[in-house]
């Protein structure tokens, strides 16, 4: 009887392993906590210098200096997941020409950045800057991660968010106003 019980316990333990292994693989594929997060996949980026006002701004982003609320999407040609964000921007007609967004493309190779922008016309519809070597965004704001959204108020960095969906980001940053 003891033998049967021992073997049964082993079988149960094996089932536990299988369950966790399969669940773990599924969890990793669907994005883990990002999908269970109450904010829908928007998380704070710790490395950014919150409260910092950049000393200089790229010419194409000078609209950020005095604007009330602006969001700079930091993408990189080295970042595969940034392709997804770029596609989302392409596919969202409400983003084209939207004042509140800008794009910064960090890259090791300017030609790659040009190709990236040419491939995603939606990005070119927004104010954009190619940051070779990531020098500006790293030097001024301490950011070396993508895809990141930097939220500026009157040119000052007030929030830095990691995100995986542009619509969710938009709803998180720009509250939906109820009609009076």
């Amino acid at each position: 009887m003891n033998y049967v019980f021992g073997i049964a316990l082993l079988v149960v333990a094996a089932a536990v392993v299988v369950l966790f292994a399969m669940f773990g693989e599924l969890y990793a594929r669907i994005g883990g906590a990002g999908t269970r997060d109450a904010s829908g996949g928007v998380r704070l980026l710790d490395e950014a210098r919150i409260g910092q006002t950049p000393d200089t701004w790229p010419a194409s982003l000078d609209g950020f200096v005095d604007a009330d609320l602006r969001v700079l999407l930091v993408l990189s040609t080295a970042c595969g997941s940034c392709e997804t964000i770029a596609q989302q921007v392409d596919e969202d007609p409400t983003l084209a020409g939207a004042d509140e967004f800008g794009v910064l493309v960090s890259t090791a190779d300017p030609l790659r950045a040009t190709a990236f922008l040419d491939q995603h016309e939606g990005l070119k519809g927004l104010p954009y800057h190619v940051d070779v070597g990531g020098d500006w965004v790293t030097g001024e704001l301490g950011v070396t991660t993508s895809p990141t959204a930097l939220v500026f108020k009157s040119g000052r960095l007030v929030s830095a968010l990691l995100f995986s969906n542009i619509s969710v980001l938009r709803n998180a940053v720009f509250p939906i106003k109820e009609p009076v």
Binding site: G32, A33, C79, S81
Partner: protein, 114 residues
């Protein structure tokens, strides 16, 4: 099971060999073959030279070259290092290393839980 009933390749009841292989010998041959392949693969993994892979997505990194060095090596000297997130679990460091002429010469990456 009577082996001779299903025999193919072994000697028949008259003692003369047929041309068809026996299931037992075939099974043993396949097993030894697979064991040999596994052994060769293990030996090649330890002693063989690395073959250059095509530059493609590694983790969430789009690299200029197939990775060939550790991230620690890549980050010495002039380099472009960026972090991308695959999901809440997994982060990847993507590194492009420059030579003294400012040209990118190799890439590296590492992914970890963060």
């Amino acid at each position: 099971m009577n082996r001779h009933d299903h025999a193919s390749g072994g000697p028949d009841e008259s003692g003369e060999r047929t041309n068809e292989p026996t299931p037992v010998r075939t099974g043993r041959r396949r097993f030894l073959g697979k064991a040999g392949v596994a052994g060769l693969a293990a030996a090649a993994a330890v002693f063989g030279r690395s073959t250059p892979a095509f530059a493609a997505n590694y983790g969430c990194c789009n690299l200029l070259f197939a990775p060939s060095h550790s991230v620690a090596q890549c980050r010495t000297g002039s380099n472009y290092t960026w972090t991308c997130s695959m999901n809440a679990y997994l982060w990847c460091y993507c590194c492009e290393h420059k030579n003294s002429y400012g040209n990118y010469i190799y890439s590296s990456y590492s992914c970890q839980y963060g």
